[in-house]
Symmetry: D4
Subunit: 252 residues, 8 copies
């Protein structure tokens, strides 16, 4: 441990084995950033309890499988997002007990028994947004958050959304995934009193511009409790929603 | 009638009152495109009964005032849109009986007594969209359409919209003006069974990009009865809504 | 039925089996939105008579085939748009009597005998826009609308358009599909007195930006009777055109 | 009251003054949306305790002053954002005890004595972002949130940011305002374990495109705890940060 | 002549061979647009002598082959642009004497013996722009224009361009194809006294945005004799360059 | 003269006054580019006969007036474009005989008596495009080109354009100025057999994006004889149209 | 000094006045970032010798004047860029000996006598780019760099650029400012063997999009020695060019 | 040699074999640009010592292999960038001793023994940017530059960057490759006193727009020593960094 290493050095000075000048020199060359590094990471881990997640899109199947296996061997919970078919095969070959979530394009391995802490809702309009919504839901669940899925509600049939208002109102944070015009977060934002995290999806065609229109719509939401993440970024939404729900949950 | 006019000319030839050469010359100088022009315009006038409207934005106050006065002298109903202060003064100087609609940035003169035919609703979320909504409403009214204004309904407080559902359902066409994320037409489109004409407004800031975000959102509406016009184009929306409402009205 | 359920509850109060207070409490928790849901949908179906349409682009072949078969079994008219080869095979396996419209990328099944009501024209410039034009035409026809196809008219040879002016003038609404510069709706809009619904197509290359240029051109049309739908959205244009033509038709 | 009205109706049934059928009919026509309306609003107020805020940008000085005065008369805390000079004068004429915050372009009136609940940090790089940062800070303070301002930290002099790491780590949510390349939220996001709300500002020139570059950069943040609001939307960031900090605060 | 045809008709009326009514009827059914059509086309053909060209990109191999064969059978010169491998095969099967120009992605058949009229230069910087440059060159040659190819000149090695200045100065119109920054037309425009037609190419990567950067650069050319066509539109450039060179050539 | 200078040097070698080595050295340091400079400019002037034009937009009134006066003193024809009010005053103070063309935002001074050579048409739809159309017309006239102005023709009333077809067909090049959807050049391009130079204008609002939509539409024109210049660049269009018309005119 | 402070602490341990544990605790709370801060800044100042520069655009005249005066009082060389009229007045009032460079929109005060080190060229095409070019030149000169201004060279008259090739070849780095199509850096890049820093300027109109077109063109330069800075960022270009020229100069 | 050719000609004059007039005529037709060409290239080669590099993306495997083999046969160092699998095979077949760098998508052949001159650092955040970073590193190394690779440093874990500050500070120029928000160059720019060349990479998804967001962020860097090249242009960054490092190196 770094603190230990520092203590050792100071103890050497205390014992007279090391002069103040020599210690000063050594400290000057000590990679103190590493101390900072460790402390920061430790801090984050301590506060959020959120494990590292493997973003597989920019990696070869072998790279993802190797990282997954290494983390699995360390006893951590493991999550890999954006896995394609070859990656699924490679990970399963390396870690047969891993679970594949095809709809979410994700793989996970639950090894800890952390109790559920916090409760969020994941909302989307239809089948086309399911991939992103499930990425969010699976991620949050791996992080130990309870997830209520509300997947068949859209602004063109507003009654379906109103029908689940009660369920919405019990969440400590709400993730809303929507493509096309991206109007759903504004309507949901008006129905709840908690933060709404909007995830534009690349669903649509023509003037949807691969999710850009939904993104812009969400940024212009007239509901003040809406914040936005990148297109299709279900993982990021789940990360922040989990942070919010945990904090909120501790107060109950 | 043009056919009559042609028949007369040909009959004159038949009767020997006009030589073939003279008739040919007359026909050659007959502005047949003008005939076409007139016929088209007449056709359009006969079918739509919609008078010409002066778009004042690209004209000097004097130009607008002159056109307005000429049309007024002809006994027509007159409408000028996008009038600024100097134009208002110039028109009032030329046509004192003209009415100024400040909220709509429009001036009108009603001289005919055409009965009301057709019924539309004009919907918007708040005070910022009023200019465009009023341009639409004033235009439609000058065209002889009954207008129900529903101006305090927005997607972030969906109950306000639901509260006017009955009124919405009585319109034969609905105009929805919205800025920011432009989500209102989709929700309205899901509540009614008639065409919804969406008008993006340049209301908003930052990533609203002067109405572009609202425009794109409306084009991606998940309600199939939504069509879209240019940003702030209340006039165009009223024109088409009037055509629809008239046709529908004749069937009752 | 919800109405029945409400009646039962009120009858219990009438019979003295339930106090007013208890009934009030139960009503407060009744999913009244479901009532609203049903009524809205019913309303829309009653007014427009337009069946649901399956948008196959976001679905697997099996999903589309299953929905198609379920709707077919219910005796409805069925339409699926944006079908690819595997989807066609899957649907035909499930519903052999379905019709495939390759040019329109659509499949349909006509089971009702609703008489034709309303008349529209579908206009485009050439072979490249045919896919979108046919999606519009097939959709409108399934909705019971008579369709006049005018497919070889473009602005660079204006005489061809003028030659069909008579046919254009008989439609109660006109759909114009155009790619590249998207100029056709403006010219058509000047020739007719009915609403023109412009459909930009993704036809073109370079600075056509997959239909964006055509879309922008149509939004800036100088003909006030032009409204616009999303790029390649032949279905949406047909939906609104049908609503307009029906209303107009009832008045004859 | 609506509940009372419902109770009356049910009591009439109970008393035999109204048959179940008649009551059912009346309930079917009851404007239940109004009930919903009231309940939703009440819900939101109860849960968030956040008063309405006046967005002055789309309003005339007189309109803003009137709303401000009405809310002041009601005893509420009042906040108006985006006030220009004439609006400041009009509000002060109507409500002399209002406070003007020139840097934040805001006016406020504190009338309640709600205790501080929750603690956030507002971070920005320099003087140019101060307007947006102060809008966020003043808003949060009016909402009863403790605000630590960290205003002289930028990514090009990373040591200044590291020097305030301790203060950052004590906040329950962090708002980061940045223009130009918008890199600050990513760096801050890596230093803290709580949600970071990124506010792009319109500060910059040339390829900053009035804040669009900062907005896009923030949406692509490699720190998973970053969510984003519209350009210059300090108010929205404060709203969500307050919701988070309150929930978190209740747990301590 | 049309005037003659009209005179004949009127003379028949004058002579009593035709009644006024019959003449009216004939005139009413005279397809004057068709006259216009024919006249326009004839005019264009007479003045430009440019045959129709088949744009194969939006057509199936069979469609292209059929049109190609029909035009070939009519004895015309034939050109098809944007042909892919299957189209080449289909055309060669139908018209074995057709010539394939792989670099230009074109096929041609020369059947007339029109003498060369007019002289243009086609300029580009390197191998990547060759496809577009050759489309222009092959098109112009089929139109009977002499083409000087200057293909290895770029702005980053300006001496190579200066070395061909003499050749440039002999052309009656110059086509310049360039991708990336699209600077070549400005430099060429400064060296010659004839119209320069700039063709942006989709060559490049990253911020070339598939030719958009080159297109924008050319539109902002500081040489006043530069006009621009769509990205990769070698055909259009050749069409206009040929019109210019022919007119100029007739004067020598 | 440079040729003389070279001859002198070579003669010195011939006479033995200069060794081959010395001459080689001197030639290596000869500013040959200056030779090129003079020759190029002379070439351009000789071939095009087009005088320099002052673009006043980037200059102070005094700068423009000074250049104008200097060119006037030299006896040249002078043209200044994009002149604002202060510039007009400054130029008139310096050169009282200059002519101001307010509609074209231009000033000119005709001092030569060059006969008219070449004939173009300038076409636009309405009053809003007049500024750009007049800049083109005035420029071409100063260059000695005959200009036919056709200013009241638009695609939404196609008959007005057809009515001037005869006049169009007499031009050797056609300039078409159009804002909004920019459809006019395509239609004109289909009616004539000469090059059409399209000038997008910044006329419009909303999704016209200051002329960008018109620009994009023109670049996608389906008429192959259309080339395009920058938004509002009437001067550039006139420059190229003049080059074309002159060349064509010499052939009559 | 921080090192001293550390030495003292360690000496206390050595002397037994402080235990290792206590020292460890104190070290853990030592603001080591401040150490880093100082060292970094010192490092940069030592290596580059470039003083801080005041960017006045985001500051009030008083703020700029105050900073300017404080730096002047400290004996430093001072430079303020983007000064408007009120700022000039405020600075001159506070520091009368400051120099105003109107063309560069800058103010400077030279107080040191650092000798010239390094030599750069600043190139632009004409009067419109002068503001940016002068900002670069004045900045570099204040930094002690010799500047050769080459201001009348453009790509449409390539001979003028070739005429200054000798001067270009003597610079150790070249700054090229260009608006419109931004082609100049590519041509210059081909003529020299040193780094070229391209500065797009906001000069132009229409499709120049306030310098965006020039920016994109420069990023696509086919000369590999070209790098780019933000639109109008003459200061940044001068900063980097100075760093390059200094390093290069030390080697002569 | 051209100089020889000139000398011969002058010697002929000196010997009386050629008259001054004849020599003048011959010189007038001498392709002097070729002289210029050679001299420029020679100049560049002499000053930079950087060999030509083959950009394989726009070439067929055979073309690349042929050029590579020809340059190899000439004894030069050879580098080909953007090689795909078939190109690798073709080059290895032609030049078996060539080295393939898969990560960099490059092939090289070192045949000279130029000593290392200059030292740069190449920095990137993670595995996804490695392709671009390696293209830069391999290119610089072939140019004889020493490269320090710092590949695991990102702004979301700022301590990792601080840990390599010492290594950064020893480079004479720094290349920073970053995708997503592109924030890394600003932070690095604040840590070093030498030019930083920023390379946006196309790494990311959604609102990264294939590297455009990173590009824009870098152009808006608040560190004045940052300049930018095109997306993924590792080669260009290495070219300029090498020029800088060499010049700097000569001074040590």
């Amino acid at each position: 441990m770094n603190r230990n290493r520092l203590l050792e050095l100071l103890a050497s000075v205390e014992r007279g084995n090391l002069s103040a000048d020599e210690a000063c020199e050594q400290l000057a060359h000590l990679p103190f950033e590493d101390v900072g590094h460790a402390r920061i990471d430790h801090h984050r881990a301590l506060r959020s309890g959120l494990p590292e997640v493997i973003y597989a899109a920019g990696k070869t199947p072998d790279q993802t499988a190797e990282i997954f296996a290494r983390m699995a061997a360390a006893g951590s919970d493991v999550l890999a997002t954006r896995v394609d078919e070859p990656t699924v095969a490679a990970v399963l070959a390396a870690v047969p007990q891993a679970t594949h979530h095809p709809q979410a394009r994700a793989m996970s391995l639950r090894q800890t028994t952390a109790e559920i802490s916090g409760h969020i809702a994941v909302v989307c309009a239809g089948t086309s947004d399911l991939t992103v919504a499930e990425e969010a839901a699976i991620t949050a669940e791996l992080f130990g958050t309870q997830v209520t899925r509300l997947y068949d509600v859209g602004v063109a049939g507003i009654h379906r959304l109103l029908a689940v208002r009660e369920q919405l109102s019990q969440a400590q944070a709400v993730i809303v995934c929507a493509g096309m015009e991206g109007a759903l977060p504004s309507v949901v934002g008006g129905l709840v009193g908690v933060p709404v995290i909007a995830v534009p999806t690349s669903v649509g065609y023509g003037a949807s511009f691969q999710g850009t229109t939904a993104l812009l719509g969400m940024l212009n939401s007239c509901s003040p409790n809406v914040t936005v993440v990148n297109i299709d970024n279900g993982f990021g939404a789940a990360y922040t929603a989990t942070l919010i729900a945990r904090a909120a949950n501790h107060s109950r």
